[in-house]
Symmetry: D2
Subunit: 389 residues, 4 copies
Amino acid sequence: MLNRKIKMGLIGGGPGSFIATVHHKAAILDGKTELVAGAFSRDPEKSKKTGQDLMLDPVRVYGSYQEMIENEKKLPDGERVDFVSVTTPNNSHFPIARDFLRTGFHVMCEKPMTFNLKEAKELKKIVQDSGKVFGLLHNYTGYPMVKLARDMIRNGELGDIRKIVVQYPQGWLATALEKTGSVQAGWRTDPAQSGAAGSIGDIGTHAENLTEYISGLKISHICAEINTFIPNRQLDDDGNCLLKFENGAGGLLHVSQIAIGEENNLAIWIYGTEKSLEWHQEHPNYLYLMEKDGPTQVWKRGNDYVGAKSPAAARATRLPFGHPEAFLEAFANIYNNFIDTLRAGVDGDEPDPLMLDFPNVDDGVRGMQFVETVIKSAKSDQKWTKFVI
Amino acid sequence: MLNRKIKMGLIGGGPGSFIATVHHKAAILDGKTELVAGAFSRDPEKSKKTGQDLMLDPVRVYGSYQEMIENEKKLPDGERVDFVSVTTPNNSHFPIARDFLRTGFHVMCEKPMTFNLKEAKELKKIVQDSGKVFGLLHNYTGYPMVKLARDMIRNGELGDIRKIVVQYPQGWLATALEKTGSVQAGWRTDPAQSGAAGSIGDIGTHAENLTEYISGLKISHICAEINTFIPNRQLDDDGNCLLKFENGAGGLLHVSQIAIGEENNLAIWIYGTEKSLEWHQEHPNYLYLMEKDGPTQVWKRGNDYVGAKSPAAARATRLPFGHPEAFLEAFANIYNNFIDTLRAGVDGDEPDPLMLDFPNVDDGVRGMQFVETVIKSAKSDQKWTKFVI
Amino acid sequence: MLNRKIKMGLIGGGPGSFIATVHHKAAILDGKTELVAGAFSRDPEKSKKTGQDLMLDPVRVYGSYQEMIENEKKLPDGERVDFVSVTTPNNSHFPIARDFLRTGFHVMCEKPMTFNLKEAKELKKIVQDSGKVFGLLHNYTGYPMVKLARDMIRNGELGDIRKIVVQYPQGWLATALEKTGSVQAGWRTDPAQSGAAGSIGDIGTHAENLTEYISGLKISHICAEINTFIPNRQLDDDGNCLLKFENGAGGLLHVSQIAIGEENNLAIWIYGTEKSLEWHQEHPNYLYLMEKDGPTQVWKRGNDYVGAKSPAAARATRLPFGHPEAFLEAFANIYNNFIDTLRAGVDGDEPDPLMLDFPNVDDGVRGMQFVETVIKSAKSDQKWTKFVI
Amino acid sequence: MLNRKIKMGLIGGGPGSFIATVHHKAAILDGKTELVAGAFSRDPEKSKKTGQDLMLDPVRVYGSYQEMIENEKKLPDGERVDFVSVTTPNNSHFPIARDFLRTGFHVMCEKPMTFNLKEAKELKKIVQDSGKVFGLLHNYTGYPMVKLARDMIRNGELGDIRKIVVQYPQGWLATALEKTGSVQAGWRTDPAQSGAAGSIGDIGTHAENLTEYISGLKISHICAEINTFIPNRQLDDDGNCLLKFENGAGGLLHVSQIAIGEENNLAIWIYGTEKSLEWHQEHPNYLYLMEKDGPTQVWKRGNDYVGAKSPAAARATRLPFGHPEAFLEAFANIYNNFIDTLRAGVDGDEPDPLMLDFPNVDDGVRGMQFVETVIKSAKSDQKWTKFVI
């Protein structure tokens, strides 16, 4: 594989932003990547200021992503950015990703992938035509114990899956935070920036992605009820769905942003004919395996018995057992696989299948389909709405 | 109040039974009640054997509940049973309760109250006409921390309730246990004995009762999907419901008997505009109170600060903090209030409102309405089904 | 076995008492025992009042335990009390137990057994001479999961034990509660009633008893530091011990009554050469089994796999899994074995070894030796003090 | 402050190493530091290979730390390393740190600081004479909730501290792992590389440092028992200490490497006259605050109410609540403060007191004093050994 640091560019990340910083830290954590350029804000002054804080060469701090494309494409290979991370609000993901891909840059995109399903499908074609590597940052699939769970199910240890319960309650939007000047609350509750859904798009897509990733099953039908509890809020801040899966399994998916006291309580329970699994994002180093007539097993990250069962979990592990790993490392695992795929590609190598274990454009299409299905179901009097294909 | 031990009769409780024994232990725990008679099985030999094991006077061990009524009614007050506990399968609750009430005995009835809603409504009239005390054993409302939760909500501490999530997953019927000779599995999966619903009647009614008890809200609409995962099983072993409440709150209720590894994982989350609550039946001594911008509070049973907030919780507490109480004591709390009400009534006293804090025939009607609404919704293509009134 | 209810007498239990009520409820829980007589207070009026509350025949409510002996011994067998439970402060355990035993009654005694070691040794001889059944209420050994732990170790599953950590922190005496009129705090901090030790006698003996019961090992040496944090308190309210066991294992035992926020946080960790165990009294339905290279196992009370490993745990279980059992049932398990032993003895039957699984006079001697060893060590400048034999 | 990336050099980190990688990732996480040089192994080939994996300029990959000093000191400021991180086994910390300090480089040193107390005291003088910044990597004090705990105590919220219990059990050396070729086990059990103590030096010093950091108290006396359970192992693998603190508080400190099933179970309980605190390293985002008569409070990292109480915790926080942070971020917090202090110093600025919140040479002296006191006490028949000053 290519033996030089990969050059990263960052789109988004101005004052008040959150996820751009996480992308940056996660990308550089393993010492294989360096941030060299960025268009941090549509306000050139703010962009310049952020670039300064990040100790970047001022020449490579841009006032717009278009300017960035113009300049970076002229730089020689190995100097120009190899890929860009798109961390702006949802409505600009598509044009930015499209333009960078078409100019020949690899792209890592924050979720949800696009503003709507139409864009998502179009982006899929663009990715295919470009031949570039496209990653989607559904970070929760980066956790080692999530990979272990997936591998246990792939191995058939749970038998057939009968029921899945997945939840993602939060409480941070339980008041009209968007009226207080909060950047985070502002764009997430604005349909012009977020799209057709609020909580369903922001965290529902995480729950959907996690469920399908771990279980290997596709949702086939949804019966959804969405709510907006804060007066004058324009998007849903709560949603509850009954699910049917293609294999006949049933389930529930529920999310909320008004569940006071909940922080990021993403959790999943998968019940099979032989065994069951339980995992909680806020305690990510533990996976619970339950049997019919035996003690519950607490699998703990970093142990040999975990790696023996799941090479993907072992690869996604930096620290020994007892040294807790958390959100940032999971995020970095998505980057690590993306970057290794990219490095392998530079050399013309075939990437190891373990490297390809990161969310891609198909996950993004699936996520936008989920959003549209939920919205459609929520408007319908009929119980079941077929998952849009 | 009457200062003699209350005389209890027990209907049900033959070999292989479970809940009858719990009724017995719970009723006598506080030393205010004694078991003096019973019709433990429809098989007179089995009934006699059980009576012997219980060291009862053989004269008062009956081969049928009808025989029991005939004999007991002839005994003088203070000697004959004051009340009977009905612990047989669902299909016989109604005739037994009816006949005892009409003969002048108080009745404690295991849930679900009757075989169907029609019987439930009829029983309500019978109770009203009888002037007797009727209790329904929804034991989970007997837990002190459940009473504390109810009182916090009554006091307005949560503000308006926006969302309720309640679950009751079990795993014990994940295989065809009813084919192995299990008494418990046998009648619960037999529509002739259980009624129209399996898991929904057996544990769904508990979840419904707990939800309405704590929140003080009534469910107004249900969107239900029920499943039967075990081939040839005749009743549902899994069910998932979206809920609407009369005040506009939303929610979910889900139960299962095929969730391998789950034992009796009844749990509830109630999210208000000001605060939220969380309680887990398997860890019943703790109630979690969550605030908008403050640490999560773990309220622990038996402390002065609990009793100060909830006299009902204090009354339902036998042991100091740190000495865990559990299922049996909650069960005994239902009995304790029922028996004190009965004792107050014997003297013509007005029972203290705290004594009347036990489930009654109205809860039983509500439970059967819940069952019928869920069954109706499960058969419907429409999303929402109105809660039967 | 004898097929009539066993007649219980209760010594202690007047206003403000705690443990007498627990003895009563625990003894009658299984319907095999009934309270028929008592000397509840040295104040005859208070005793009479308590008897009335308990709905006892006033003739059998006594103003002193001596009066009780005089009257009860004249009653015919089957009517007089079969045994008495001694629940008074420590200083009166010995004379009461002695006199009842010598008159021919069986005795259940609250811990610690006596006021000092001298009495304990004397009581041992009296028990032996009397031929009566003597039980000591170290209730924590009544928990099913404690019995499972003992049986796992007996079976050799842990290999050789290397280290034991046991703790019993409480916080209820973190202030001078004894100055506020608290009955419980009053006698426990009074050397005239409690003996040479405060926390060490009251809860340290529980920790010692639990440790030796589960591990099957004897403590051989102690290095103790005891503290009294409340000004003018006369007995220790905190104690910390290094331990050596006869097999060469090491360990720690620490207790406190000034650990604010702790309730009854008795917990034990046992580390062997092959596996380890962990148990917490406040969450008693779970036993954690840890392996060298495998997931931690959570063993849950009431499951078949628990009973298969430990018949003693199965026998000590009343409710199915998921229906939590707690302190009172553990207490009742001590009574249950004591009473079954007594009933077997009445018939001249040899009690089943499982019945004999309750603390006895040897445990009581061991407890008083522990107290004296700790006090001796605490006064010594030498590191290690040999466990008194 | 200096607005360029700080240049880091790394000593140690060859094949089989663990902590060097953690130093590297932690140092670069925030994008303010870059690794530019290293002496990764005493074997030049291994060093070169590691440098290659890290994509370093081969010219700055050295075969020895002496060679590194020789070459780096010739480079111009801004190009040569600003500081080095010393991550070799204990016996080489002193000469390496000494030589770099004397040549004018800042130093971050892995704990325990030196091979023995003599070296520690000498190093203190060298640091003072050098005028350079010296950091010691006791990473656990980098956790935000540890800083919150310290600040609560500083604010007097706990009142006077009465008792501290601290533990650090591990199980990874429960077998003779050092005989299997394990690099980690090898040097840690070798007195020539580790010094006079095994578990006491490796993890006991962490427990000691955490205790004194949070409580603000100094240990004054120790009563220690240390054990070696694995045959032929030359250093302790288990140790148990009674503690006295200068303010009269008591306590216990116990560590183990043979506690099967334990991973890195560092935990601390601090009991005051008003409130108590509890913290667990394996669940680092939570701090438990316990009151005399109120619910237990669970303080959760990342919330405004945490930052309001502890600016140091706020500064040590990268992600919002619900996005768990863990070991690596705590480690990075030590680096972050060290590096900001260093950057402030380059400009001649006075570092903010919050920046100086990282372990330094005084903590290192204290740690070595702890080791020597424990060893001395363990050899003594006397109960108490005064903490070496």
